[in-house]
C-alpha cells in the first residue's frame, strides 16, 4: 500500500462575512498531513479556529481557498449527493453532545450508517453485534438514548462512528460532556479502535488529558498552526507533561 496521506491540507483559508460586512479571517493558511493509522490531536483555545478547521475536514463547510484531500480525493470540489455519500462512506463522527437520535434505540442508532449504505439486514445485525461487543455495550442495544448515561451514550455514538469502517474518525471534543472516568474509558476505546481497526483518528480538543492519548498534536492559534509535538515512545504521562508545558508557553 502506497503511503498516501489520509488527510492532506494545503493553503487552507476561511474568511467569514460578505464583501459589505466586516470580514473575519478564521483560518489564515493551514498546511498539514495525517498519515494512515495516525491518532492526531488539534489543540487550541476558544476562537483559535479549530472548529472551523474540523468543519472543513468534515465537508460541513467550504473553504475560501486551499484544498483538503481525504484519502486522495479533494473534498472541497464535492457537491450535493457526492458530499453526502463521501461522508457516509469515508468519515465517522463523534460529537461533544453525542447527537444520538432519541427516537431510535441504541441498536438502530448504530445501524443507521449501514442502512444508509444499503447493507442487508442480516449483515447489519452481525456487524452491529460485533462492534457492540468490542465497545462492551451489547447489553444496551435495546435501550433508548434517554435511558443511557453520558458515558454509555458516547460509546453508542462511537460505535455509530466506526460501524461502517470509515477511513477517518473525527472527534469534536468527544469527552467534553463526560465525567473523568467515562472520559478515560472513551479515550482508551478510541486508542484501541485506532490501533486494532486501523482507523485514523483526528481529535479536536482543548483538554490536555484527552490530547495526551494522541501520537501527534498540532497547536492552532489565531487561524495558523503554531506548534507541533510528537509523543514518539514516551509514556502518556510524560507526553501529558509536555503538552501542559507547551500550552503554558504557547498560549502566552
Amino acid at each position: 500500500m502506497s503511503e498516501q496521506p489520509i488527510i492532506s491540507v494545503s493553503g487552507l483559508r476561511k474568511t467569514y462575512g460578505g464583501r459589505s460586512e466586516k470580514q473575519y479571517e478564521a483560518l489564515k493558511g493551514i498546511d498539514f498531513d495525517v498519515q494512515p493509522g495516525e491518532f492526531v490531536g488539534i489543540m487550541g483555545a476558544s476562537g483559535s479556529g479549530k472548529t472551523t478547521l474540523l468543519n472543513m475536514l468534515a465537508t460541513l463547510d467550504q473553504p475560501t481557498s486551499g484544498t483538503v484531500k481525504i484519502n486522495g480525493s479533494d473534498v472541497t470540489k464535492l457537491h450535493g449527493n457526492k458530499i453526502a455519500d463521501f461522508r457516509a462512506n469515508e468519515i465517522g463522527f463523534i460529537f461533544q453532545d453525542f447527537n444520538l437520535l432519541e427516537t431510535l434505540t441504541a441498536f438502530e442508532n448504530i445501524a443507521l450508517p449501514l442502512s444508509l449504505q444499503g447493507v442487508r439486514k442480516n449483515q447489519i445485525k452481525t456487524t452491529v453485534y460485533q462492534i457492540a461487543a468490542v465497545l462492551s455495550i451489547s447489553n444496551l442495544l435495546d435501550k433508548y438514548p434517554t435511558e443511557l448515561s453520558g458515558g454509555q451514550k458516547q460509546r453508542v455514538a462511537a460505535a455509530r462512528g466506526i460501524v461502517h469502517n470509515p477511513s477517518l474518525l473525527l472527534g469534536d471534543e468527544p469527552t467534553g460532556a463526560l465525567d473523568s472516568k467515562s472520559a478515560r474509558e472513551l479515550l482508551e476505546l478510541l486508542t484501541q479502535i485506532n490501533q486494532e481497526r486501523d482507523i485514523s483518528v483526528l481529535l479536536v480538543t482543548h483538554d490536555p488529558f484527552s490530547a495526551s492519548f494522541c501520537n501527534r498534536i498540532l497547536f492552532i492559534k489565531d487561524g495558523v498552526i503554531g506548534q507541533e509535538i510528537k509523543r514518539n515512545d514516551r509514556s502518556r504521562n510524560e507526553f501529558y507533561q509536555e503538552i501542559l508545558e507547551q500550552l503554558g508557553t504557547f498560549e502566552q
Binding site: 457516509a88 434517554t146 435511558e147
Partner: protein
C-alpha cells in the same frame, strides 16, 4: 419594564410566534364561525325544520370547546417551552419568582387575548365572505343570518379569555414547581415510549369496541332518538383515542421487524412515526373527529343541495311558465343553459281559459305519476284533455296567469278559433339544472308575478316555484352543512399543521445530524414526506369511516345520504391533500438547513 421584556422577546422569535399566532387566530376564528350559527336561535328556528337542531348545535359547541381546549393547551405548552429558558435566566439574575410569574401570566394573556381579538375579526371576515360565496353559488337566501353577530363575538371572547386565564395559571403552577436549573436546561426530554404489549392489545380491543358501539348508536338513531348523539360522541372520541394509541404502535412495531425496515431511512421514518403517533395521540384523535365532522357536514350539505332541485323537479314537468313573454324575456330565456321551451295558445274571457285541442295533442302536457317509492326520480305521463279539464293538475291551472282560477276548456281547433276572448300565449320553459340558472330564473319569475299576479301570493306554475319553497325549508340545512364543513376542514388542517410545525425545534436537530453523517438530502426529504403523509392519512381514514357511519343519522331526513359519497370523499381528500402538501413544504422549509 415587565411589558418591555415581554414584548422584546416576540421580536427575537418572530417565526415561532407567527406559527403560534396563526394557530390561535385560526382556532378562535373558526370557533366564532361556529358560534355565529350555533348561538343564533332565530336562525336555527327559522331555517331548520329539524326537531333536534338546537340540541345538535349544543353538542357541536361542546365538542368544539373540548377541541379548542386541547388546542389552546398545546399552544400554551409551545409558548412555555419557548420562554422557559428566559424565565430561568431572569430568576438566575435575581428576579423574584412572583415577578417572573407575573411576567409569564402577562405574556400568556397578551398573546392569547391578542390572538383572540384578531381571530374574531378574521372570523367575521371569513364568515361574511364564505357565506356570500355560498349564497351566491347555491342560490339560497337565509333569513336572520348576519356575519357580525354580537352574541357570538361575546361568547368566543369570553371562552378564549377564560381558557387563557386557565392556561396562564397552569403555567404559573409549573413554574413554581420547576427548579431554576431545569428551566435553564432546554427541555430535551423525549417521552419514553416503551410500552407493554399486553396493555396495548387491551387498549386496542377496547378502542375497537368503543368505536363500534358509537357507530351502532348512530346507525340506530331511530330507536335511541336523541341519546344516540352523546353516546356516539363519547364512545367514538374514547375509541379513536385508544385505537391510535395502540393499534398503530403495534402495527409499526411489527413492520419494524421486516427487512424493509432496515433499508435506507425506513427504520428512522418508522421510529419517527411511532414517536409522533405516541406524542400526537390527542391531536390525531381530534383531527379524525374534525375530519369526520367536516366531511359529514359537507356531505349533508351536498345531499340537500342535490335533493332540493330533485324534490322541486318532481312537482312539475316544466320549470317556469311565462304569459306573453316580452322580447327581453325571450332573450333571457334563450340565455338560460340547457333550456327547452314550448308554447300554448290561450284565449281568455272573464270566466274561462280556452286551449286548442290540436295543440295539446301535438305538444301534450305532462303530469307527474304519483309514486310510493320516493327514492326514484319521478316519472311523467301525458295528461289527456279529459283529465286536464276534470282533474286539473295544479301547475296546469296556474298557466292562465289570472288572479282568479279560470275554468279550463279544451276545445277543437275550429271552436278555439271562433271562441271570443283575448288572445294570449304561455311559454313553458324547462331547464336541466335549476341552481346554475338561479338568478335568471328568479328575475323571470319576479317579472311574471308582477305582470300576471296570481291569486295566491308568490305561487304559480312550475318546478322553480317549488324550488324556491323547498329551498326556504331545507336551504338552511344545506348552507350550514357547507359552511361548517369548510370551517371544520380549516380547523382540522390548522390543528395538525400547528402541532407538526410547533415541534420543529427538536426535529431540526435530528435532520441536521442525519445530514452530517452523510444522508442525502433527497432521502431526508422522502423520509419527511412519508412521515407526514402517514400522520395525515391515519386520521383521514378513520374520519372517512366515521362519516360513513355517521351518515346513518341522516337517513330519516334525506332520501339517500350516501348518494355520490365517493365523489364527495374524493373532492374532500384532494382538499385535504392540499393541506398535506402545504404542511410538508413549510415543514421542510423550517427543518432542513440551507444548502
Amino acid at each position: 419594564m415587565l411589558l418591555r421584556l415581554a414584548t422584546s422577546n416576540i421580536k427575537n422569535r418572530i417565526r415561532d410566534y407567527i406559527v403560534l399566532l396563526t394557530g390561535l387566530v385560526m382556532s378562535s376564528a373558526i370557533f366564532y364561525m361556529f358560534a355565529n350559527l350555533a348561538t343564533n336561535q332565530q336562525l336555527i328556528k327559522s331555517n331548520l325544520n329539524f326537531q333536534y337542531a338546537s340540541q345538535v348545535f349544543i353538542f357541536g359547541t361542546i365538542l368544539l370547546m373540548i377541541i379548542t381546549f386541547v388546542y389552546v393547551m398545546y399552544a400554551n405548552t409551545f409558548l412555555l417551552n419557548m420562554r422557559q429558558h428566559d424565565y430561568g435566566l431572569f430568576m438566575m439574575l435575581g428576579a423574584k419568582r412572583s415577578r417572573v410569574g407575573a411576567l409569564m401570566v402577562l405574556e400568556t394573556l397578551i398573546v392569547g387575548i391578542g390572538a383572540t381579538i384578531i381571530g374574531i375579526l378574521f372570523g367575521i371576515l371569513i364568515t361574511g365572505s364564505l357565506s356570500g360565496f355560498l349564497f351566491d353559488r347555491l342560490g339560497l337566501e337565509i333569513q336572520h343570518f348576519n356575519p357580525l353577530y354580537p352574541k357570538a363575538v361575546a361568547i368566543t371572547f369570553v371562552l378564549f379569555a377564560l381558557l387563557f386565564v386557565i392556561a396562564s395559571f397552569m403555567n404559573l403552577q409549573s413554574l413554581v414547581r420547576t427548579p431554576v436549573l431545569q428551566l435553564l436546561k432546554q427541555s430535551d426530554s423525549v417521552d419514553k415510549f416503551k410500552f407493554s404489549r399486553v396493555r396495548l392489545i387491551i387498549q386496542g380491543i377496547a378502542g375497537i369496541i368503543l368505536v363500534g358501539l358509537g357507530y351502532w348508536s348512530l346507525a340506530s338513531i331511530k330507536t335511541l332518538q336523541l341519546m344516540a348523539i352523546p353516546i356516539a360522541l363519547i364512545t367514538i372520541v374514547l375509541g379513536s383515542y385508544f385505537i391510535f394509541k395502540s393499534s398503530i404502535l403495534l402495527v409499526i412495531t411489527w413492520i419494524k421487524k421486516t427487512n424493509w425496515a432496515s433499508k435506507k431511512l425506513n427504520g428512522f421514518t418508522l421510529s419517527q412515526i411511532m414517536f409522533r403517533v405516541h406524542d400526537y395521540t390527542r391531536i390525531l384523535t381530534i383531527t379524525s373527529l374534525l375530519f369526520a365532522l367536516a366531511l359529514g357536514a359537507i356531505t349533508v350539505g351536498a345531499g340537500f343541495h342535490r335533493e332540493i332541485p330533485m324534490i322541486a323537479n318532481s312537482q312539475s314537468s316544466f320549470t317556469l311558465s311565462i304569459n306573453n313573454p316580452t322580447a327581453a324575456q325571450k332573450d333571457s330565456i334563450k340565455k338560460l343553459s340547457g333550456a327547452t321551451s314550448y308554447t300554448y295558445q290561450q284565449k281568455l274571457d272573464h270566466k274561462n281559459v280556452y286551449y286548442n285541442q290540436a295543440e295539446l295533442d301535438t305538444k301534450p302536457f305532462k303530469e307527474p305519476v304519483p309514486s310510493s317509492d320516493f327514492k326514484k326520480p319521478t316519472k311523467f305521463k301525458n295528461a289527456s284533455s279529459k283529465e286536464l279539464m276534470e282533474n286539473t293538475p295544479p301547475d296546469f291551472a296556474f298557466l292562465a296567469g289570472t288572479p282568479k282560477p279560470a275554468n279550463i276548456k279544451i276545445v277543437p281547433d275550429k271552436a278555439f278559433k271562433s271562441a271570443k276572448g283575448t288572445n294570449q300565449v304561455v311559454e313553458l320553459v324547462t331547464v336541466k339544472d335549476i341552481p346554475s340558472n338561479y338568478k335568471a330564473l328568479t328575475k323571470l319569475t319576479d317579472e311574471q308575478n308582477k305582470r300576471y299576479p296570481s291569486a295566491v301570493d308568490n305561487s304559480g306554475a312550475g318546478a322553480f316555484r317549488s324550488y324556491q319553497f323547498v329551498s326556504s325549508v331545507f336551504g338552511g340545512l344545506e348552507f350550514i352543512g357547507y359552511f361548517l364543513g369548510i370551517a371544520f376542514l380549516a380547523m382540522l388542517a390548522s390543528c395538525l399543521m400547528f402541532k407538526i410545525l410547533s415541534g420543529t425545534a427538536q426535529d431540526q436537530i435530528r435532520y441536521n445530524l442525519l445530514l452530517k453523517i452523510g444522508t442525502r438530502r433527497s432521502l431526508l426529504k422522502r423520509s419527511i414526506n412519508r412521515e407526514l403523509l402517514v400522520l395525515f392519512v391515519i386520521p383521514g381514514v378513520l374520519g372517512i369511516i366515521d362519516v360513513l357511519f355517521g351518515l346513518q343519522m341522516f337517513k330519516p331526513l334525506m332520501i339517500d345520504p350516501y348518494y355520490n359519497i365517493s365523489i364527495l370523499v374524493g373532492i374532500f381528500v384532494i382538499m385535504y391533500l392540499g393541506y398535506y402538501f402545504l404542511t410538508s413544504w413549510l415543514y421542510k422549509l423550517i427543518v432542513l438547513p440551507e444548502k
